[in-house]
Symmetry: C2
Subunit: 139 residues, 2 copies
DNA sequence: AAAGGCTTGCAATGGTATTGCATTTTAAGC
DNA sequence: GCTTAAAATGCAATACCATTGCAAGCCTTT
């Protein structure tokens, strides 16, 4: 992804494109798995941890990434689908956590099936986390 | 639930029935919503927090309760279905978190629908968390 | 060049999970 | 019942992660 493309993507989400933010966005864009703050920190060492924290925070707030809680203790982050924006997240896909390699993937193509709830329960948002073994590790 | 019944239930799960454990089990049994360690601590004050922590821990390990991560930051705990035991958890139901009252319920009667995964992904365990408004709060 | 606003970096705080260890309680054998 | 071993409890301490406060730096606008 070119610098211009990165910049455009940030601007589209009303995020001021700083160097740090473009680096982080580029990094997120390159990897297929979701990434934790700690992992991001390791990859960007010796960049400041708090800055990375706030970078992810604002990305999330502006609908550029969504956070995934895969039960590993710390949330992980992954780029949103194109449909997401500042006003609304729309990440209705399955999240898969591999218990072998510990990676967490957004299965963008795999929608969450319809849910049946008891009478008078109102559904707003659904999180579906599947634990198991990913294709790489199953090989 | 009688003391004998509580005791039997603990023994069935290979948990030594101490006073504390029976109290906690009774408490879990009385409430329909899942409970966090902190809330349990508040309810049992001035009992020791660590003891309660370890009580929940062993309950979980022995298949008497399961933990639910509803995104509130701290896991909550609820009694397992009767089918669970020391060897295997089997809590394949929807968890519902009400954003109004912040309570989290096990919808025992509402099974998780079948999931479609990409080729060669192996599914082991599924967590389905629905956020929304519960029947009480919707009224 | 000056001023204001946003970003960054460092320090500090806060909450929760977890472990170590000494003491108490429980269960078992005699 | 008494003794002893194992398990549970209570307290202190540690560790981890998220989050905030504040001062310094950067960038834009005038």
């Amino acid at each position: 992804m070119t610098n211009e493309a990165l910049e455009q993507r940030l601007l589209k989400h009303q995020i001021k494109p700083t160097a740090m933010r473009m680096l982080v966005l580029n990094h997120l864009n390159k990897t297929s798995a979701a990434i934790s703050l700690k992992a991001l920190y390791d990859d960007f060492y010796p960049a400041d941890r708090i800055t990375l924290y706030r970078t992810l925070k604002i990305f999330e707030e502006k609908g550029l990434v969504h956070s995934i809680d895969d039960g590993s203790g710390a949330p992980k982050f992954a780029l949103c689908e194109a449909a997401c924006d500042v006003k609304e997240h729309n990440d209705s896909h399955i999240h898969f956590h591999c218990e072998k390699c510990n990676k967490t993937y957004c299965l963008q193509k795999f929608d969450i099936p319809d849910i049946h709830l008891p009478k008078r329960f109102i559904q707003k948002e659904v999180n579906l986390l599947v634990n198991g073994i990913c294709d790489q590790c199953a090989a």
